[in-house]
């Protein structure tokens, strides 16, 4: 090792340029990225079908099913709030579009727009109630979760007389809506579902908003310290309500995927428990439960880890009884790695 003598950098030492390595290490998603690579290598070694590049499409699709919702959920968590109603809201949106179009014999797109309005209203309600009452979002959205779960079955039964929405696959506009929300195409032998493309687009937009715009700064600010943010003029109320409405918008999108991917029929009981998967993806991706820290890209990697593990266990031909235990261990491991990397980065 030959030591090189460096000339001291002229200028203010408080704004010295940090090395690339230190900058990388201080990113919230670095821990999950390392984890994802480890898991990828692990399954490439242990599961032969995992090596087949043609199967990438299946894994990406599994990841996108969680990943699309992990985008707004991670933004919301950085903003310091939870949404436990996110899972059933997806089902609510899908049911609304299907039932509305069918019962009133409208073009499918009308149902899609109505569902969007309703999903945004659910987000607005969550955000408004939170700001109005000052209750923890955990409680507010838990209430919404139960209300929606109940409405899903009650309204579906009232409208269709059954526990699933009526099929809208033979109605006007179905084909074009399916093309937008739930089609697939070939890309060099890999079948890519359109939701994977949308997911990447959404992650890119959300990451840009978070890192490069004033709104992104506001989100970090309200999650870090709402009172301080309010003191410096951040519109805390508008930001938080906006975040919940963003969750609503994405729930609508995921709901449309659910509807058009399954021939225009949605089972009213689905979606329960999904909200935790979105939160898991965000946490594995480096979001803190306390808010003020995290990244959208990290949440996307978290969803990818989830998809890889879920299908990797199957591809490897293992007994799926072990999947949940494996998942729990992975979750703990990922969060511990995040913690270690973060404390190392801060020590530099």
């Amino acid at each position: 090792m030959a030591s090189t003598i460096t000339t001291p950098v002229a200028g203010d030492d408080r704004v010295s340029a940090r090395s690339i390595g230190a900058r990388l290490l201080s990113r919230p998603e670095i821990g999950s990225l390392v984890g994802a690579l480890v898991i990828l290598v692990f399954f490439v070694v242990t599961a032969p079908p995992f090596r087949d590049i043609d199967n990438t499409g299946t894994i990406l699709y599994q990841a996108a099913l969680i990943g699309v919702m992990a985008v707004p959920v991670s933004l919301l968590m950085i903003g310091g709030e939870f949404d436990l109603s996110a899972g059933v809201a997806v089902t609510t949106a899908g049911l609304t579009a299907g039932l509305f179009a069918y019962q009133f014999s409208l073009n499918v797109w009308v149902g899609v727009v109505i569902a969007l309005v309703l999903a945004l209203l659910i987000g607005l309600f969550n955000g408004w109630l939170l700001m109005r009452t000052g209750l923890p979002s955990f409680l507010v959205t838990l209430g919404t979760f139960f209300i929606l779960q109940g409405l899903n079955i009650a309204v579906t039964r009232l409208a269709s007389g059954a526990v699933a929405s009526n099929s809208i696959s033979d109605m006007d506009g179905f084909a074009s809506a399916k093309a937008v929300f739930a089609s697939e195409f070939q890309l060099g032998g890999i079948t890519i579902k359109i939701i994977v493309v949308w997911w990447i687009v959404f992650v890119a937009i959300a990451a840009w908003v978070l890192q490069r715009t004033r709104i992104g700064n506001w989100i970090f600010a309200v999650g870090g310290d709402a009172a301080a943010a309010r003191a410096v003029g951040v519109p805390v109320k508008r930001v938080k309500i906006g975040l919940f409405m963003t969750v609503g918008f994405f729930a609508w999108f995921a709901g449309m995927q659910l509807l058009f991917n399954s021939n225009g029929v949605v089972q009213s009981g689905e979606g329960v428990g999904k909200e935790f998967l979105y939160i898991i993806a965000a946490v594995v991706g480096g979001c803190l439960l306390t808010g003020g820290y995290g990244s959208v890209v990290g949440a996307a990697i978290g969803a990818l880890i989830f998809g890889m593990v879920q299908l990797g266990v199957v591809y490897a031909g293992w007994n799926p009884d072990w999947f949940k235990a494996f998942l729990g261990a992975m979750l703990l491991l990922a969060t511990i790695v995040n913690l270690v990397v973060r404390s190392k980065a801060e020590a530099r």
């Binding site: 199967n55 699709y61 779960q149 699933a164 399954s262 021939n263 007994n319």
Partner: protein, 332 residues
């Protein structure tokens, strides 16, 4: 000091050992488990093939455990490597079918209880030249999928059989317990009962993953509706909770059930449960795998393009003894 300690330890160990010997149970426990038939014996000399069994079961469901045992028994005989996977979520189950296609398996046995989500990938598997059999659910849609055969019960017919029997027994008012919100099969069973029994059937929604809560709900229902004289549970665990609930409510309502379990056998022998409608899950799993092997080795299909029904079969006081030992082994 040390010697005294050694003595004490030896004495303590002796006491524990003696207690353990005295405390041996004369009945029950591991000692009474029997090896079920079908799992031993010769293996077919046909080439080894890989078959995926993909269900919509949630984790830890007894019913699906029995289906899996049947499938494994067939796999063992037929020199098949069985890959089991399951997901209650429609989209995720469809993706599991895709992973089986990706893994280039030699056959797929799949449940079509969520046909709208899973069907496209089943068709994809058929198009890829993989023989597919359908089990348990999807009776009215499987024929359009290109599958070789269907092994299961028609839930509506099973419900109707139960409804007819309830009428014969002179029931006045029936409570039908639905333990999973939005499950089409369960709805069909209660609807079938209604079709044959008449209007005096009331559905009661409970959360099937919460047995104590289920028991409390049924108790309060029986306290509220004194006219109910028959309660039907749609799986063994729920029905046994209903038995307890009827006791708690001081109700004299009779109890009937769908599906089987070890405890159900005892309950029928005791007379706390009148009868149960069995759909033979073991057979469903067995035939779904075995028929793929038959197709692979001899080009055979079962059922002539029609569903092969594995139920309904009534199990009551008269015939319960015949299935007792199989239920104890976890295959009925």
């Amino acid at each position: 000091m040390v010697r005294w300690q050694n003595k004490a330890v030896a004495a303590g160990a002796a006491v524990v050992l003696a207690a353990a010997l005295v405390a041996c149970s004369s009945s029950g426990g591991k000692q009474e488990e029997q090896k079920s038939g079908g799992a031993a014996g010769n293996v077919a000399n046909t080439p080894r093939i890989k078959v995926a069994l993909i269900t919509h079961s949630g984790p830890g469901d007894t019913f699906w455990d029995i289906v899996r045992r049947g499938a494994e028994a067939a796999a063992q005989k037929d020199n098949v490597e069985l890959q089991y996977s399951a997901d209650p979520d429609g989209a995720a189950q469809a993706n599991l079918v895709q992973t089986a296609i990706d893994s280039k398996v030699d056959g797929i046995a799949v449940t079509l209880n969520k046909p709208d989500a899973v069907m496209p990938n089943v068709k994809k598997a058929v198009a890829a030249g993989i023989p597919v059999t359908v089990l348990n659910g999807g009776l009215d849609v499987w024929q359009g999928s290109g599958a070789l055969g269907y092994f299961g019960q028609d839930e509506r017919i099973a419900g109707e059989a139960a409804g007819t029997r309830l009428k014969q027994e002179g029931a006045k008012k029936v409570i039908c317990i639905i333990h999973e919100q939005g499950n089409v099969s369960l709805e069909s069973r209660c609807q079938g009962i209604k079709d044959k029994f008449g209007a005096a059937v009331e559905n009661l929604n409970v959360n099937g993953t919460d047995i104590p809560g289920t028991q409390a709900t049924v108790t309060s229902k029986l306290q509220q509706d004194k006219t109910a004289d028959y309660v039907v549970g749609l799986n063994a665990g729920i029905t046994l909770a209903a038995v307890q609930a009827a006791k708690d409510a001081g109700s004299s309502a009779k109890i009937a059930s769908f599906d089987m379990s070890k405890e159900m056998v005892k309950a029928i022998q005791d007379g706390t449960v009148q009868w149960t409608v069995d759909q033979q899950p073991y057979l469903q799993g067995y035939l779904a795998v075995d028929s793929i092997w038959l197709y692979r080795t001899n080009g055979d299909t079962i059922g002539g393009g029609q569903a092969t029904l594995t139920g309904p079969a009534f199990i009551d006081k008269d015939n319960v003894t015949a299935v007792e030992k199989y239920a104890a082994a976890g295959t009925r």
